[in-house]
């Protein structure tokens, strides 16, 4: 394991500790007077009935679906971009072809109307 990642590990742990410190501090300092009304879920007026369940729009899901596919393709492109300077012209064209196929997918979802917020 290279030493650069040791720093990342230490730093992430430090970041977590730094985020926990104010929470602990407030736990020590802040008053705690529990009351039934305080612990109710926020709602406009009436008390909530039942669990949190909402039939949310499938659109949110569609966007994350498109995002997953695009994310994979972009990650594929990062090594290509790093090697870009040393690549011959036809290799760059191969990468461009890859991007164009990706763009073709975008055109398809666009035409299909999956990107419209209804």
């Amino acid at each position: 394991m290279s030493s650069e990642w040791i720093f990342v590990g230490i730093f992430l742990i430090l970041a977590i500790i730094f985020a926990i410190i104010p929470l602990v501090l407030s736990r020590v300092v802040a008053p705690r007077k529990p009351h039934e009304l305080k612990h109710q879920t926020y709602e406009c007026g009436m008390e909530t009935v039942g669990d949190t369940w909402i039939q949310f729009k499938a659109q949110y899901y569609i966007f994350s679906l498109v995002f997953v596919i695009f994310d994979v393709e972009i990650v594929f492109l990062f090594p290509w971009a790093v090697a870009y300077k040393q690549l011959p012209f036809f290799a760059v064209v191969e990468g461009v072809l890859f991007i164009l196929i990706l763009a073709g997918g975008l055109v398809y979802v666009w035409r299909k109307g999956a990107l419209d917020w209804v």
Partner: protein
Amino acid sequence: MVPLSWYLTFAAALFALGLYAVLARKNAVAILMGVEIMLNAVIVNLVAFWRYGNPSDIAGQAFAVIVFAVAAAEAAVGLALIISIYRRRETVMAEQIDLMKW
């Protein structure tokens, strides 16, 4: 250094747990999670063999990247299938999705 067999045992344990999820879980999404764990165990194996083989030969990592793409495509299509089935049949329990049995 960590011996190669440790990594392989670790990957085998992950694969076995994923296999258990696929065989024993009721919920289709949970089954899919099991498949993802199995694919990830495969990637661990590929990367470990790359490291302990010849690291200047990049084949292991190239394969691993392809498996990443397959895993993402599998998750996208699999979850879309589950959502589509849920919309029609109001269930995601694998044993109730049995139209093909008849």
